[in-house]
């Protein structure tokens, strides 16, 4: 009975198009945001930040970016790992070349560089479609990883090819390096994610977003009503890569602090982020977060539950975890092929009817 939209009249187009048109939704979201920003930072420790929250936020950002490309514009990409690597190496070069540069600028510029690279590899999308495109983007994945592994300039000619993030500050607080405090890292990533989630939402409910979806749903018809396919697809590649590049930059500088390209940005990352997008819900901002949460939190939860809770051997627990992840993916897709976001939406609709379903 509490969750109702009856009586909430929209008096302007603006309020009709608001992100959360229902007042209860808005309160819940504001409460959640307030909690994330004002309460959580006081309680996070190393474990929560490094093992749980940072991967969640960073993969959330990457999934959001990929969802723009796959979910909104309909172009399947398996180059995510490679593009994240671009972001990571861009920020390494920026951090070491310009030690004074503000980390916000570093992250944004890394995103920008990735956007340029992403658009370049988006060019074939004009001709190649569907799974053919998906496999073709693997060319970007393998090529980029090879490049960063091969050319010394990218890792400042260190003898091993590993890159390590030096200590950098943001507004006087240490953000990168081993001594950075958990809450600084957490808040930095959270803020970026919140701002760019809002921007993503704005884009997809505006002209560009409609053009992306038009291309996704029927590219020929879109072209006939004046959507330029190349420009639109490339813009999706660019925006998506921007997000993914930022995620790569954060993954390297804030989260891991040291990476090796083939291991951290290998093809499994490309698949992982794509899983997040599909499990979460194609074409849904919330879905990106739900998908990231599912694939980041569930394995940790299962592991801790089985090892500490049930006392299983870690190895057996790992095997069972892989098996359970597979079963859950299949189960969720059968229950709701359109992802966790749709499941969430259905729940809300049911709630709206409750307790009188008819």
């Amino acid at each position: 009975m509490l969750y109702r939209e009856a009586g909430q009249y929209k008096t302007s187009y603006q309020s009709d198009q608001a992100i959360f048109p229902i007042a209860q939704d808005r309160w819940v979201v504001w409460a959640f945001v307030a909690f994330a920003f004002l309460v959580v930072p006081f309680f996070v420790n190393d474990y929560w930040t490094n093992a749980v929250l940072l991967p969640l936020l960073i993969y959330g950002l990457a999934a959001l970016g990929l969802n723009i490309l796959v979910g909104y514009c309909g172009q399947i990409s398996l180059g995510t790992g490679g593009f994240m690597a671009v972001g990571a190496y861009a920020s390494y070069k920026l951090m070491t070349s310009f030690p004074e540069m503000n980390m916000i600028i570093v992250v944004l510029l890394s995103g920008g560089i990735t956007a340029a690279v992403g658009s370049l590899f988006g060019l074939p999308s004009l001709r190649i479609k569907g799974f053919y495109l998906a496999v073709a983007t693997l060319a970007a994945q393998f090529f980029l990883v090879w490049v960063f592994n091969k050319f010394g300039w990218f890792y400042n000619y260190s003898m091993t090819g590993q890159i390590t993030a030096p200590d950098r500050e943001v507004f006087g607080f240490l953000l990168t390096g081993p001594s950075a405090l958990p809450w600084v890292k957490y808040l930095f990533c959270l803020t970026l994610l919140a701002v760019f989630a809002l921007i993503a939402k704005n884009l997809v409910r505006g002209r560009l977003g409609r053009n992306w979806m038009a291309i996704r749903d029927m590219d020929i018809a879109a072209e006939l009503i004046g959507v330029r396919p190349l420009l639109t697809k490339l813009s999706a590649f660019a925006v998506s890569s921007f997000y993914i590049g930022m995620a790569g930059s954060l993954l390297f500088s804030v989260y891991l602090g040291a990476v090796e390209v083939g291991e951290v940005f290998g093809i499994n990352v490309s698949f992982l982020v794509l899983f997040m997008v599909i499990i979460g819900g194609l074409g849904s901002i919330v879905g990106s977060f739900l998908g990231a949460a599912f694939l980041v939190l569930l394995p940790i939860f299962l592991k801790n539950f089985m090892v500490d809770g049930l006392g299983m051997l870690p190895t057996m627990a790992k095997h069972v975890e892989i098996l359970l992840m597979g079963l859950l993916i299949i189960f969720f897709l059968i229950v709701e092929p359109h992802g966790l976001a749709r499941l969430w939406q259905i729940t809300k609709e049911k709630l709206r009817m409750w307790p009188f379903p008819y």
Partner: protein
């Protein structure tokens, strides 16, 4: 000159090994439009089961082989019964995602049943350089791969007869063309899917055995799928000859690139080169070499 011939021959042989993996993808895509990401893991799972049965029971390999086929048929049945049946008419990307879930499940089950150690698959397959070629022509040809090429030829011949001459085969082609039509001539879609996945499971067993003979059966076998993907897009998702020809082109192309171009750029280029080669082909023919032409209408 000898070396060039040797390189090309090796490329062709390696190509056949890729084609064997790609074949499984094509079969399933052709009959059900599913991009079966689990194909690589199926190779691993089949080879693991094969090696595992021999190791645990000590049975001679032909019996273990037949038992493994039985397991793969069971997997096919289970996939249809518990997964595909509930997802008829879903979008391709959802079906793709489901096969990823399937890959996890098979990997988990394989690990739990047989462990993660390397298993040596010693069933007397020929291996090592062919003495005849090496002594007479100074050309290195790997016997295992010649054998693999023969197997591939037999397999493709078998599949061709199966598709052209048998009732089930014709039904499969009908399904590939039009699900509705196939239903209307009284063929159960369920049966067909079980058969196709069984055949793909059998192909996976063959590919897994041959690759496993080379490196021992271990987790990395599942990664050979990554070698098959460029073959697949180059040849076209729906064409069996495409999988073979695509494999040969990729095999030769990447070997030539690695040996003749690699040294100038620091080597290890064959992985991405295969994809770039396939990408270049796609730019000319977006549906792959033998894929069905995509006609756009409004």
């Amino acid at each position: 000159m000898e070396f060039l011939i040797e390189t090309i021959l090796s490329g062709l042989m390696a190509g056949v090994m890729y084609s064997l993996v790609a074949l499984g993808f094509v079969l399933i895509f052709k009959a059900s439009g599913i991009f079966n990401f689990a194909q690589g893991v199926m190779c691993l799972f089949a080879a693991l089961t094969f090696a595992g049965i021999m190791e645990k029971t000590g049975l001679p390999w032909p019996i273990a082989f037949v038992m493994t086929i039985g397991v793969m048929v069971f997997v096919a049945w289970a996939v249809e019964r518990f997964v595909l049946r509930h997802l008829v008419n879903q979008e391709p990307i959802i079906l793709f995602m489901v096969t990823i879930g399937l890959a996890y499940v098979l990997e988990g089950v394989g690990d739990i049943l047989w462990g993660s150690d390397v298993k040596v698959l010693d069933i007397g397959l020929p291996s090592g350089a062919s003495d005849y070629m090496l002594d007479n022509f100074n050309i290195y040809v790997e016997k295992l791969e010649v054998f693999a090429a023969l197997i591939a030829a037999v397999l493709v011949g078998f599949l061709a007869i199966f598709f052209q001459k048998t009732r089930i085969g014709r039904a499969l082609r009908a399904v590939a063309d039009d699900h509705q039509a196939a239903l209307s001539v009284g063929i159960s879609l369920q049966t067909i899917w079980v058969i196709v996945w069984s055949v793909a499971g059998f192909v996976a067993l063959v590919a897994g055995t041959l690759w496993g003979a080379k490196s021992g059966v271990q987790f990395s076998l599942s990664l050979i799928a990554l070698k098959a993907l460029p073959v697949l897009i180059l040849g076209g998702f729906t064409s069996i000859p495409g999988a073979i020809v695509g494999g040969l082109i990729i095999g030769v192309g990447e070997k030539l690139a690695e040996i003749y171009v690699g040294p100038f750029v620091g080597g290890a280029i064959e992985n991405w080169f295969a994809y770039m080669l396939a990408l270049a082909f796609l730019l000319v023919r977006p549906q792959g070499l033998f894929g069905e032409r995509i006609i756009e209408r409004v």
